[in-house]
Symmetry: C2
Subunit: 422 residues, 2 copies
């Protein structure tokens, strides 16, 4: 994937100014052996370590692409205990620094993890099980969502851009801006759903209301949009009023499990990650009972090529309770209720482009983020965004848009040509 013109060259450190390490670490020393064990556990990425005392150790074979500076002995021991989680925490706390491109470093980490994955022990698989995401009960979901989405609309506004859309955009070309791509994403979704004026739409998990307002203003539909994030709903309602759409779009501060009524269309963009596998069958029933006989629906979600838990640091520090399903897992929504899948599109590289735009803006706004929160928060979110770019670019994560309808609906376009006409 070629880098986007807006977004290349983000570096954690401006390399040349940092003093180079001086002394080669003996591989037989305590630290040397610890580092070798750490590298082997994470799949031997081509990195060099530089320790607190200036000693350094390179990869077993080949040249190092990125340098990792470890600030003290305690951090080294901590990293060994649980590398994926402890690295994230140590980076956030500034006890580990990456010299070189942070996204490139995360690429190395994901590639190495894929190699290590092929040689995993039963003990590791047990760890996966222990790390299964926390359950999303009604109260649990509210808490999980509050912890991510209610940290301040102003913070998100710094880097999401004016659309305030916090989901994968759709780039008609590599040159599209973030705003163009977010609008193109909404139109792509609306075309897939073949929205017609006067139709009714229910949206599950509506963020700051961007898609709901877009559907209402551009496609003339009536929308009921559900969200359990108080801050987002307040923001969305203010926007609706400001745009004169409050008669056409209703924002409901409630859980998707409490959706009632029948609608022509069900849509959910970026909520499934928070639903939890154990609730997919119930979600399918809710979708089915909410649709008219000719109803259509679309679910847009981060996914996986095969079932695996979310990165444990991300699940712990960024998205509590989140899970990215494989397609077979997503089918647990549709199959039990005789919903018929019409179209699945995987647009993972679009999420990498979106995240590159976000990271660039985030980087430019870091000073303001530091004033809102603290240095640890700034670094934590930087790592999350950079790591996510790498996850989508290495194919560790996917982005699926699944279009579906009721089993009995034959009012289906013969081809998908209508999505691609001007």
């Amino acid at each position: 994937m070629s880098a986007n013109p807006e977004s290349d060259g983000f570096r954690d450190f401006p390399g040349p100014d940092v003093p180079r390490a001086s002394r080669r670490l003996s591989p037989s020393s305590v630290e040397g052996r610890l580092l070798r064990r750490l590298l082997s556990r994470v799949g031997d990425p081509p990195v060099e370590f530089v320790l607190w005392n200036g000693e350094h150790l390179g990869p077993i074979a080949g040249a190092a692409v990125v340098t990792i500076r470890v600030k003290d002995r305690g951090t080294l021991f901590t990293l060994l205990r649980d590398p994926p989680v402890q690295f994230g925490d140590a980076y956030s706390a500034g006890r580990v620094e990456i010299e070189g491109d942070l996204v490139q470093f995360m690429h190395l980490v994901y590639h190495a993890a894929a190699r290590a994955e092929r040689h995993r022990s039963v003990a590791h698989r047990m760890t996966d099980w222990l790390r299964r995401p926390r359950r999303n009960t009604l109260a649990g979901s509210r808490d999980n969502i509050h912890r991510h989405y209610d940290i301040g609309n102003e913070f998100y506004a710094l880097w999401l851009g004016e659309t305030m859309a916090y989901t994968c955009a759709y780039y008609p070309t590599h040159e599209a801006t973030l705003e163009q791509a977010q609008i193109a994403k909404m139109d792509h979704v609306c075309r897939k759903l073949r929205l017609k004026p006067g139709e009714s739409v229910v949206e599950a998990g509506c963020g700051w209301g961007t898609l709901a307002l877009h559907m209402a203003s551009r496609y003339g539909v009536r929308v009921r949009a559900f969200n359990i994030s108080r801050e987002q709903v307040a923001f969305a309602r203010a926007r609706a009023k400001q745009q004169g759409l409050d008669g056409q779009v209703e924002f409901v501060e409630d859980d998707y499990r409490n959706i009632s009524g029948r609608y022509d269309v069900f849509v959910s963009v970026g909520m499934l990650e928070h639903v939890g596998l154990e609730n997919y069958a119930e979600l399918g029933c809710i979708v089915r009972r909410s649709l008219t006989a000719r109803g259509r629906g679309l679910i847009h979600s981060i996914g996986r090529n095969r079932p695996s838990p979310l990165h444990p640091w991300i699940e712990r520090r960024i998205f509590p309770g989140a899970y990215a399903p494989s397609l077979s897992e997503m089918m647990q929504i549709f199959e039990p209720c005789d919903l018929s899948v019409l179209d699945v599109e995987n647009i993972r590289l679009h999420y990498a482009l979106t995240l590159r735009h976000w990271l660039q803006r985030y980087h430019a706004a870091e000073e303001r983020v530091r004033r809102m929160f603290d240095e640890t928060f700034v670094r934590m979110w930087r790592l999350y965004l950079a790591g996510s770019i790498a996850a989508f670019e290495t194919g560790t994560l996917q982005l699926f848009q699944v279009l579906f309808t009721t089993q009995e609906n034959n009012d289906i376009p013969l081809t998908r040509q209508h999505l691609y006409s001007a």
Copy 2:
């Protein structure tokens, strides 16, 4: 789905000439009670029965849409024993006649079956298990395929048309002819795969070689195409020679499990139905090991909205060992081997159009089929084609095209626009 201009009006009987039944059957008679039980077991379709003695019995509520004539008491008893299988056999043997449109009758049957499905007992689910398709071992597959595909190329040529493509076509418009739609299907598949001149393609299950020759002649690729049907391979080789493509396309009379080598592209159109669920993971491994790092693949198969056995009469009389998977089942091919699904398109209504064209041509050729085989064969295949139209039109069956690539391949077009440019 509106009927295709080429294909409407096919009737088993020219209704007006058939004498009407005269006497209403008493619902409390033995036959009356048997018929009520039969109707209730199959979901109470709106049909009227006319018995051998002229007595007739209509549906519990509403008017009958189709009339079923039962020739003798023995047939009535047989039907009750196992309606889905016995109806097919009785129709084939001429012991049951359908007065009215056969496709419409099969619509009623499938709609009623869907209703009955919602109230199924454990005993019925046990029957499903007993009816699971026979296993597709290497020898078993050869036998299963022989029984369907080796019954004579001349027979198939009567109704498949000049392309000799025995899989779902792709209709750019409802007005396309069968030939146009079969060519459009091949181009749609080739565009999805982004074939480039000089690339190598392996095809699993190549029928009479239509797609292999099309890819070679129109897209300049080299093709190795596997098939275990001796008659089909002989036909395909003769065609390749005739078209001067025998240096570019190699037809191999062997099982897909014996594919060796590496290719840029894997393609399989209409073979998965014969692979058997128990072999999906192995198929995935074969696909993965056959692809280069940037390899792509496409599997086109009849499917289901949820896991269910094939219609038992079809599995027994027409397609031994066949199974139509749900998408979650198809994912058993891709997920264990880290293949990445890029695009799923459900084109079930295209199969209904294709089958309507086939049935119309079959109908016109019935006299010749009768000379090749016998009356039972003629009726059996008529029922199979008519029933398949109804299965796709009622959403009982789906048709999935799944495009995929290796997890690490980032050479993916941003959009699907290229499929829809002229």
